[in-house]
Subunit: 252 residues, 2 copies
Amino acid sequence: MSQSLRKPEIIKIARREGRVTVDGLVDHFGVAPQTIRRDLTELADSGKLERVHGGAVLPSTTTNIGYSERRELNQPAKVDIARVCAAQIPNDCSVFLNIGTTTEAVAAELLHHQGLLVVTNNINIAMILSQNHSIEVVVTGGNLRRSDGGLIGDLATQTIRQFQFDYAVISCSALRENGDLMDFDIQEVGVSKTIIAHSEEVFLVADGSKFERKAPARIASMAQVDLFVTDLPLSPACASFCETSGTKVLYA
Amino acid sequence: MSQSLRKPEIIKIARREGRVTVDGLVDHFGVAPQTIRRDLTELADSGKLERVHGGAVLPSTTTNIGYSERRELNQPAKVDIARVCAAQIPNDCSVFLNIGTTTEAVAAELLHHQGLLVVTNNINIAMILSQNHSIEVVVTGGNLRRSDGGLIGDLATQTIRQFQFDYAVISCSALRENGDLMDFDIQEVGVSKTIIAHSEEVFLVADGSKFERKAPARIASMAQVDLFVTDLPLSPACASFCETSGTKVLYA
DNA sequence: GTAAAAATGTTCGTTTTCGCTCGTTTTTCG
DNA sequence: CGAAAAACGAGCGAAAACGAACATTTTTAC
């Protein structure tokens, strides 16, 4: 399929409005109706939209709109971080991956590894890793959180307690200057704490935007993290905290 | 502006705006279009951007999963069986759905129900049911079986033992004339036995082709099933067995 | 200071996109 | 049901964008 600058924006509008019209897009982009029709036809052919007379609608199977938008947010940075993180994980070891778009990116990078045992409480990660037949995938139980495919609650922690991981890759909703890892969901906090307690090496993946966000629940301190992979330089305060607590920092 | 500073800035703009145009960058940097094209091509080669006619956009990781599943779900016989089975399940109750394409079809039919608590060891079912916000979805832990998205092993049975279900919908790999339910995977047998032991009402969904197949491991007897939904008439032997064991039979 | 190397600008032939026309299909409305 | 109106897809020419090759400028290394 040929590409165009308009198509991503058409999809964005479709996800926001639920549908798009040829006329509306003609006004929006200032192009001829035929051009819009061509775009819609091609988007429909590739399964991104469903063509209807006069416009197009979202395919009926599209769920988690908010999530998929968030997943694309800052994606290149996440992939860079993920690549650096995955490079620190050897073959033939056990790894835990928890909830988060950045950890999903790590899962995608891990597809090139071999002989891994990966345990995850993220359904999307399980789907991603099922492509590699040399990776044994174990899913924790738990209540399914629709917003991001995460499995949380008591069942999840129960499962995790039965393992001891060589490596854990975790993320968080927000980071504070004093080195605290924060999260929105109190249930997820319990899971993350359990993961840290059952892992030899804890890797934290988080892009720089996490420093600008606030979240209510405290997961842990950076001191409990062995390796922190991020994209932007840390503030002096945070950098010195990592220094004294022995947390290694890698930049993507 | 020197060359080394231009590419990071292009990425910064792309992340902020979601897309960049050649013309826009020519104005922004005051260089020739060809230079911008070179930059964009190199950024695209390294995976940071996705090149399109007239500019570039952030790489999209939109993955459309579930094509193959949906195809299988559309097999008319399975859908008919699923519809009949789903009609026997009331709103506001707890249901277990196990592995199998027919049970997946049941999940699709249950999308119209409300107030359900559904526990499943099938990742595809979890994805399907996540579309209905009035259904609480719980996933059992377990080793992921790539062939069908099933979660099996000790972790799965452990989880199931913690529940007592109003209804369980199960399937099997094969059916014998004497009323035995058979399966290919010994690990799955353990799961199915546990499900039956922890459910008030057990529904079996299986199309007629199951009678023509052989499988090595015995799950249970039809006598432990309360309702059997199928598409083709049973053999006289099997029908009389159901009669004496009190198993109700429904035809789709 | 000079030469090599890298980056940038220019030209030009090729490819892609876009808008127009026109005949066909779908929808709307009496 | 049937006709008018809207929407649609195919084909075509013009315009824009593209990439390759080469000339020119800037940076780097000695």
